[in-house]
Symmetry: C2
Subunit: 709 residues, 2 copies
């Protein structure tokens, strides 16, 4: 037992190390210069706007939380759910919100420092500050995930241990309750990511339309209050929302693997370690990420004076490779010493997941980077106008779904059969979940690079708004493009891991149903209910996409109205711009936009379950997973490629031409696809699974009653 005690303590140690690294990095950034008073003021305004948005959003989320807690309470009252689910759910939501605030705080307090360094010290030092700040965000996430999962695990294990000495039964209850905090985290992430996505794009469209087209102000003009909102959007959507998103992905992968590990090892010796293994691999990811970050910081320091974009890009890319290699090596030893060499196949499954994630990342890069054929062809098509540009962008986006889908299929088959799924079904499922955990162990490094992007982007915005010399903007543009390659790969890894996590969660749901009601038929030919569930599942992403796209449109309309009135006042000198009022209004309409999707996520699987049976729910989950995955990649890559094609046209100095105008239209079409719908799909497919797991007892009981009427 003492060996096991050690194993249980390792994630805590990992979390403490992550916290220390995060604090040290924060301190390193803390005392850097914020530049001129004006720069500081702009940065401060972005911070205030971001905080206003998050406050408003949090209020609405808290209302939702109370309503959901009442519903959960009713379910607890009727015995459909354990009482511990309620605090678990609450803590998951609050934790996700907290992570969103912290991420936003880190990026909004470091952006001006990056601008200042770009102005006074050049590319190397600017990169150093940006990556250090971003690393502290990645480390905070790692700290949170490790501490949170380990804490709940130990608390719950102790709690159930008090009333019963049966370890197996206690473990079962622990992993079942753990699902609930993933729902909390997922639900909050859905709000933050989707709301943030709607906000960003609405602000973006509003700022451009009213500022540039109607009022003749130039891009990022200080007098346009919507410009601040545009920069706010980056911090609440691409930093806060993205971090909440990564949190729920990571938590989801860990908990699904814990659940499936428990089921696979229920009657085997290393059952405790099989449940702990996902946390240990995550700890390996944290350690490997820290090593990678330290290495690239050293290299950047060496380059400081003569840093170039290509050198720095190579550096961040090697950081990713170091992380991947590190995880593989450490995992090998973890599996060997905690599970024993006879379970070496778990290491293979996890490695398969890591490699697959990296491959999907590469495919994302190929389909969205302007060095490769797809984006170049989209650029070419700008010559025959906006329509061909958009059609081409959509076509390549659709094409880009094929290779990632085949990779996921390959990973699933590989990790299932390598873990003897042919003869031991639950072991095979555990193998699939190991692949997801392996992919997501890269998260601390991937999130670092993902946070780095908006910081560099904001730094550029501040340079413009503070009217610094054009060289500064050029330096921040270089800074921005340094992270692009690595971020594209990282984004691909996160999309891939979402799919595999959802797969594992769906399988976990199935296992839950099997326990409650063995022998559920999942044959989509023999049972029309299963086929119907599958059909509804395939349609769900279309429903969500349409709701979110419409919400962006409506919110943009409101942005235009508010900005129009404010700018009129500002230009006539009668009023001062009020970014806060403006932001509150957009926030409200963004939140209203996701109200129906937010409710639907709970209602659809529950209704399908009650009226069509639990088999239909599993089909629903799988249908949503497959169709949602395809749509997520389609939309993310369509938008990404159209965006990068436009950027390249600008880099080649062709701004103002017909081609550029065509690419601007294309980019505007692609923006909500890429930044609002695409990332929301990832959360949707997982949230649907976790909600289904939550309501499984309710569904099985009520559907039995209805079918036996």
């Amino acid at each position: 037992m003492s060996g096991q005690m050690w194993v249980r303590i390792i994630p805590f140690i990992g979390s403490v190390v992550a916290l220390v690294v995060a604090l040290v990095f924060s301190l390193l950034v803390k005392n850097k210069s914020k530049g001129s008073k004006r720069m500081e003021e702009i940065s401060r305004n972005i911070f205030i706007g971001s905080r206003a948005y998050l406050n408003q959003q949090t209020k609405i989320m808290l209302i939702f939380m109370v309503v959901l807690c009442i519903l959960l309470g009713i379910m607890v009252n009727f015995g459909y759910l354990s009482i511990v689910s309620i605090p678990a759910f609450i803590s998951g939501m609050l934790f996700s919100i907290l992570i969103g605030y912290v991420g936003m705080w880190i990026s909004t307090t470091s952006n001006a420092k990056v601008t200042s360094a770009a102005k006074d010290k050049g590319l190397g030092e600017a990169m150093n500050i940006a990556i250090t700040a971003a690393s502290s965000a990645g480390m905070v996430l790692a700290f949170g995930v490790l501490l949170y999962t380990a804490f709940w695990f130990n608390i719950l294990f102790w709690w159930y241990g008090k009333s019963s000495p049966d370890m197996i039964q206690n473990l079962s209850q622990v992993v079942n309750v753990s699902v609930t905090f993933v729902i909390g985290a997922s639900f909050a992430a859905f709000f933050m990511r989707t709301g943030g996505g709607i906000f960003t794009k609405a602000a973006d469209m509003g700022a451009d339309y009213v500022g540039k087209v109607e009022s003749g102000l130039k891009e990022d003009d200080y007098r346009n209050p919507a410009t601040i909102a545009d920069n706010v959007g980056d911090n609440v959507g691409d930093v806060g929302g993205m971090m909440a998103d990564s949190l729920e992905s990571w938590l989801g992968a860990i908990i699904a693997a814990e659940l499936l590990g428990f089921l696979a090892f229920r009657n085997l010796a290393p059952v405790m370690n099989s449940v702990l293994l996902p946390m240990l691999i995550s700890t390996a990811g944290v350690v490997a990420s820290i090593i990678a970050i330290l290495v690239i910081k050293l290299v950047i320091r060496r380059y400081k004076e003569n840093a170039t974009v290509s050198k720095l890009t190579a550096t961040t890319l090697s950081g990713l490779l170091i992380t991947v290699a590190g995880i593989i090596i450490i995992t090998y030893f973890i599996v060997k010493y905690t599970m024993g060499p006879e379970y070496n196949f778990l290491f293979h499954a996890s490695t398969g997941g890591i490699v697959a994630g990296f491959l999907i990342g590469l495919f994302t890069l190929i389909y969205t980077d302007s060095r490769y054929r797809p984006t170049r062809n989209i650029m070419e098509s700008a010559k025959s106008g906006p329509a061909t540009y958009v059609v081409n962008g959509l076509a390549y986006g659709m094409e880009s779904t094929i290779l990632p889908a085949l990779t996921i299929i390959g990973t699933m088959i590989f990790s299932f059969f390598i873990c003897q799924g042919g003869s031991d079904f639950t072991m095979g499922l555990y193998g699939v979940s190991m692949a997801a955990v392996g992919m997501l162990a890269v998260a601390p490094f991937a999130v670092t690079i993902d946070v780095y992007g908006p910081i560099a982007d904001n730094a550029g915005g501040i340079a413009e708004m503070a009217e610094l010399p054009p060289e500064v903007r050029k330096t921040t543009d270089k800074l921005d493009s340094v992270g692009n390659t690595t971020a594209a790969i990282g984004k691909g890894i996160l999309i891939g891991s979402a799919a595999v996590t959802a797969l594992a969660l769906g399988q976990a749901y199935f296992s839950q149903v099997e326990l409650l009601k063995p022998g559920v038929v999942l044959d989509f030919i023999k049972d029309p209910m299963v086929l119907s569930g599958l059909f509804i599942g395939v349609i769900v992403p279309f429903f969500f996409s349409s709701m979110l796209l419409t919400a962006v449109g409506n919110a943009a309309n409101k942005v235009v109205q508010v900005a129009r009135r404010q700018i009129k006042g500002i230009l006539s000198g009668k009023e001062k711009g009020d970014p806060k009022e403006f932001i509150t209004i957009v926030t409200k309409s963004a939140q209203r936009g996701i109200l129906i999707p937010g409710i639907a996520i709970f209602v659809v699987p529950t209704l399908v379950g009650i009226f069509m049976g639990p088999g239909a729910v599993i089909a629903l989950i799988m249908g949503t997973l497959l169709s949602g995955f395809a749509q997520a990649i389609f939309m993310a890559n369509s938008g990404g490629a159209m965006d990068n094609a436009k950027k390249r046209i600008e880099e080649e100095g062709r701004s103002g031409t017909e081609e550029h105008a065509a690419s601007v239209v294309g980019d505007t079409v692609g923006d909500p696809l890429k930044d609002t719908v695409g990332p929301s799909m990832n959360i949707l497919i997982k949230l649907l699974s976790t909600v289904s797991i939550q309501t499984v007892v309710l569904v099985v009981t009520l559907s039995d009653k209805i079918f036996n009427l």
Copy 2:
């Protein structure tokens, strides 16, 4: 047996009646005036262009046919297929091609007559000619389907009857071989519809870009050879391709129902009649359509002098209602007298299908007609530029998938359970196929209205090109809009029936597999191969869409090049335009564009079957069906709504405004979605099922060998 003989003869009688009506209608149109010499010449050029396209396309299809016959021969040689499949396949392809030619011939020889009537006799007579010509196309299709299915049925039954007196065994062989001619017809339809779709849009984009933007010619200018090609596109895509498409849908529904009817009634008395029932319901559709057409012709004649758009629209709509009511009433008696009152549930299933088809049609209308909210909102969004227009168009297109999907789900569940599928599984499947047959019985009338559209459209083009007074164009525009409401509903019915037919075909495939290898597991959780098949199936429509959209883009590029050179020659007076050379080039690149999709349709299900087993193929079929159905509706309605919003903006006299420019971009994005990708999806989902059925023996045998290696 004599009662059965009568039942077997009824479809022949129906086909003769349809042929007579078609001939009478052709004669009625034949002697109408073609107007001036110039009008006749333009019409002739459109005909020559269309014929050139079809000739070129037929050549390539024949090459494909030879290659496929060799492959089929190899399969026959190794015992994977019956020898009769080869002539069945060939006849299916040739028949589909023939129908395409006939449809094209009818529309290209009547278009100028409609223009002439619009010029000299007004709206009523123009409508009368157009609807009469279109009716003869609908009747030719009906004649073909009834004759062809009845002929093959009786020939095969006689052929197998020679060597064995066992009726049950003979019937089994008859229905199995019948699938092969559906493949032939489907494959030809895929080429004609997809190739035609690529052609139309490439010609459209080329004509607009080179003619209007580059050369300053006005729309439909006679000197622009691409204008002729644009009108050719209507006849080869929207008439020829659409008729081939309807043919294969109808044949597919009948044959799937025959197969499932045989399986359900194998051991029951009315087995012969259960196989004949789909043909009888189709005959009912022909009779009801003839009645409806005669009624609306009478009404149009009464209106002749004071015809208005709203009166005529109401007339075509009542025609559709008469057809639907007629089919329901006749089917009631057919089921009662051929199957007996105890099988009355088959009538309910068929009626459910008809009602569902009509509902899906109504949803299509609501989402694409400018009288309703979605299209009006898209119009509104033109105020903030092309990007919001497109985003809104895509959003409503996605939303529009929900109600049709729920309708299909409802139909499936209803027809399965009303036919006692809960206790008798195969009877339930037969019920689902009855719903498909019911929906498709409306085809003769729906096709009539669908052919009417391009005829009216062409009549307008001829009026422009012949520089007739603007009133003529106004009359033909009214003519065009008369059919829109009914056509939208008809289109919805055809899309819905494609889904239910594909469902029935997929279930038929499953039944085939069950016969060869009982107990195939179709559990997408327990067997990762099944889930993988499902995943590949969901991705297939993305793959096809991307290939087709890219093909349109490439073909449009070539159109631009050729048109550029020709127009230069024409304007300088040195050369005469050569629509034929031009058409040949586009045709070639269109055919090249569908080469890979055409091959993939055969390769994907076969490879999936061999390497992942027949369970994965069924999952593949279902995945493609669900995802393809959603994409088909999404794309058709996105494009339709953006098109109609643009038309409405023009009708409101806002051509030339910023809003109109935005809507033109949106329309151009929507065009290939609506006219190339959307309709092709319908064929794809069925073709995949029929190909799978064809290769089932091969797949089961080879996959067994591989799994037992």
